[in-house]
């Protein structure tokens, strides 16, 4: 049985365990051969900034886990276009080649899913 899972995060890469906890669910979905997409809203788009170096705050580098996503066939990564504008970022400069979605497209993406897990 294959279902479409969408995991939605709105938290920045550090400061809480949200980003790591979300990736753990994503990898597990993949182990069960489910279709999984990630949607990063708000400050969560900062998870995709390259060259993170959290050693000073004794955290593991998220980039290492992110780089394994392709091995798990998790390649549908979406970011909120409004968050990109808010942070002055563009999708091309972010890791994992995310697709930027305007509000209408975000709604459409969520409607298409079987399971939506916010975190």
């Amino acid at each position: 049985m294959n279902k479409r899972f969408l995991l939605i995060c709105s938290r920045p890469p550090y400061g809480s365990s949200a980003a790591r906890d979300l990736l753990d669910i994503a990898l597990t979905c993949s182990v069960f051969e489910q279709s999984v997409s990630l949607l990063l809203m708000g400050d969560a788009i900062l998870q995709l900034l390259p060259e993170q170096n959290p050693t000073a705050i004794r955290q593991k580098n998220l980039n290492a886990i992110q780089s394994s996503l392709a091995l798990y066939d998790i390649e549908s990564i979406y970011v909120d276009a409004e968050a990109l504008r808010f942070h002055g970022l563009s999708a091309e400069t972010l890791l994992l080649k995310p697709q930027a979605l305007e509000p209408d497209a975000l709604q459409q993406l969520i409607r298409e899913q079987d399971v939506v897990l916010p975190l």
Binding site: S17, D21, D24, I25, T28, L117, P118, L119
Partner: protein, 132 residues
Amino acid sequence: MIFTLVVHASPVQHQAPETALRFARAVLEAGHTLHRVFFYRDGVLNGNTLVSSPADESNIPEDWQALAKEYPLDLVVCIAAAIRRGVLDANEARRYDKNQHNLAPGFELSGLGQLVEAAMLSDRVITFGGRG
């Protein structure tokens, strides 16, 4: 309809577990199937049997256990999240060389696969205390 509930929040600091409990009861009383309640992140603290409430306040872990006495419930606590937060069963206490364990009766420790499997088999998956 088959439901699965996901609880992310701790029982004392957040209303979400209380809301999840009432939702679970409503699902069951309406004759639906509750396939599983999965506790993740700080939600694993719902399975801490040492939670001790003042007499005039609710005790959420005990309330889950009471519901599980009325209905057959699958209360699954994410093992990785639980161990990090000091919610251990006897097996994990041995494995991590701790001389205490505190997973409440009626709950079991298992992996995130139990969340994904439940989502695959359920018509609805409802998260309580997400976006935290």
